[in-house]
Subunit: 201 residues, 2 copies
DNA sequence: CAGTTGTGATACGGGATGTATCGTATCACA
DNA sequence: TGTGATACGATACATCCCGTATCACAACTG
């Protein structure tokens, strides 16, 4: 699923969609969510901020959550990857810190809004899973399987369980607000979770 | 915070609030959320289902999320406690299974709705933290500290980190839908997380 | 009895949604 | 160059829900 957008009516006949509108709309949506929150976001405000007709929004997206979803993915797509050099286990810790840092900032505001809206909108929930959650889980699972092959992780480890143990607590704190998403917290989760997975030879 | 209700104007003068209305409203709200979802829930529908005037709802609760919050707490308050007998570590596993089972059913629908709404409503987020999350965290932390004293858990364990490692994955699956909240899943999380906390003597 | 508040019904204004329509703009194709 | 099809911005519209206000009546205290 490349985006939440509706398809144009036809491909090679008629006036084509203006490509600049996407950028303007997504930037406007992100700006408004970050300044005023998702709760007060309206299609009208997005259209005004982007300098675009409101009808154009409804022509391209089914609702505001879809717009924010596209805006979010456009922002964070290149981030939170696993660096390919350095110590194997420390790379995981650093990746978790990178993610926690992103969640402490503007990305955290956006993903909280999307997670909340997804609980009431099955389409958005599927989009969040397909475009955000699953790609990252696949990358992590690949990295972990490679670590199992190379002997850094126990050969009988369950990559999915490890993903959940490492990353679910970060989402949990983001949503529950039971404490700060600090490096110290990430380290505590990492260290404890890893005790069951590290291969101690 | 005993409930999300607004206080009556006065205590001993004037007509007292009808006590039956609470039950009817909370039952109606729960029924509607479970049948049609939280997204389409309206104050009007709750009032109609409960056979109550809409004004009465606004007199007692600030918004529909507060009503669902009260309905949820009224349903699940007595559940998901730690049984006091049996093997210490197995008791934790069983408690996690009980919670997962509740989340697989109607309670899961309700708490998903509340978690979603809480992302847009700071008051509701605080209520969810104070009335649901924190009481359970306190109970768990107490149980874990007792286990540290009695030698079942490592004396240098961090109860908060253990809580997050054990329970955050359950919330994660509930919301993300990355897999079933089965007993097998609970066991995988429990077994892996416990490797870093169990006292192996 | 008087005073005070809860209850149900109804009306109201405000705001957001999603659709429809209009004139204009931009493209492909003949 | 012109024709057909679609996108764009603007506007109007019906609909829905919210939260408040108001009313007559009910229920309680003293």
């Amino acid at each position: 699923m490349l985006s939440q957008q509706k398809q144009p009516k036809a491909l090679n006949i008629g006036r084509p969609r203006s490509p600049k509108i996407d950028r303007k709309v997504l930037a406007a949506a992100a700006k408004l969510v970050l300044s005023d929150g998702f709760g007060t976001l309206t299609m009208d405000a997005i259209a005004a901020e982007a300098g675009v007709g409101r009808m154009t929004l409804y022509r391209r997206w089914p609702n505001k959550a879809a717009i924010v979803m596209d805006a979010f993915v456009a922002r964070v797509d290149p981030n939170t990857l696993f660096p390919s050099d350095g110590d194997y286990l420390e790379t995981i810790r650093l990746q978790m810190r990178t993610m926690a840092k992103a969640f402490r900032g503007e990305d955290g505001v956006l993903i909280r809004a999307l997670l909340g809206a997804a609980q009431l909108d099955p389409d958005l929930a599927a989009a969040l899973r397909n475009r955000w959650t699953m790609p990252r889980r696949k990358m992590a699972a690949e990295y972990f399987r490679e670590g199992m092959r190379q002997g850094y992780l126990r050969p009988d480890a369950d990559p999915d369980a490890l993903i959940d143990l490492l990353y679910a607590p970060i989402y949990y704190r983001l949503q529950m607000g039971t404490g700060p998403l600090s490096n110290a917290y990430v380290d505590a989760i990492f260290d404890h979770a890893m005790k069951g997975f590290r291969n101690d030879h």
